[in-house]
Amino acid sequence: MGYLKKIQYNCKHATFLIEKKMVGRLSFREIIELRIHLMGCSVCVLFSKQSRVINEMVQQLFKSSMPGEIRLDDSFKKELQERIEAELNKN
């Protein structure tokens, strides 16, 4: 298989580059390889789109404070503050 064909066929490598691009920097060669692949592969274009959406959703999920959904119970909190007060009084 020729070099160009290999790039066009290799979705595994293309998705690797898509992920690398999202959090890091691609080399010049990698940028060209990804572009060539995406020109002819609508499946990886779709993967790229979905991958970006997933990142945004995960970030949203983590950053939202979602008040009331994840909470400590009051008795644990009371004990915890008492523990802190006890430590403070030691000094």
Partner: protein, 188 residues
């Protein structure tokens, strides 16, 4: 407000920050008891370090930084079988692709309406997203969340979690392939 104006008020710590820290921990390690322990350890460690607080960041930011270090310790302990996990990851990668790198038919991405979902409004999708993240091996989740959510430098993550640079990229790639496939399977 000047940069040195932040102060600590331990008498209000639990009221002001305990739920926030607990939620921060539980999203990253997915274990209620352990998260409770970490919140407590964070406050106690903070008391010991209080004299060194310079007031350059807010109380919450400072407490969160202490908690982050404790979470990384948990990641480290969990990922002791680390090299084995990565080898398995490389092996399983074959499942998604044919030998020549083509998508295998059953894993090929399809449109499943993900662009039109707001996970904060759509509770059902939210639950599936969380379930899919919980399925990832602990080390992958650690790498994934440190990079995508906390925006840590790659070199920092590699050092903290004792992962080589090439394994880092394998994990980033593999984690996303898994997460996407899981969402398509359970939502699409």
């Amino acid at each position: 407000m000047s940069a040195e104006s932040y102060q600590l008020n331990p008498h209000q710590w639990v009221n002001a920050h305990a739920d926030y820290l607990y939620a921060f921990a539980i999203r990253r390690i997915n274990n209620e008891e352990l998260s409770k322990d970490l919140v407590q350890e964070t406050f106690l460690a903070a008391l010991e370090k209080a004299a060194k607080f310079e007031g350059k960041s807010s109380e919450r930011t400072w407490l969160t930084a202490i908690l982050k270090n404790k979470i990384i310790d948990v990641y480290r302990k969990k990922s002791s079988g680390l090299s084995k996990e990565v080898k398995q990851a490389e092996h399983e990668q074959q499942d998604f692709f044919e030998a020549d790198g083509h998508w295998r038919a059953e894993y090929r991405p399809l449109e499943f309406g993900i662009e039109h979902i707001d996970p904060l409004i759509n509770k059902e999708f939210n639950t599936i997203l969380q379930m899919c993240m919980e399925k990832l091996p602990a080390l992958w989740m650690a790498v994934f969340s440190m990079k995508h959510i906390d925006g840590e430098e790659t070199t920092v993550i590699c050092t903290e979690l004792k992962v080589s640079a090439s394994n880092f990229w394998v994990i980033i790639h593999r984690a996303k392939l898994n997460l996407r496939a899981c969402l398509q399977k359970n939502w699409g």
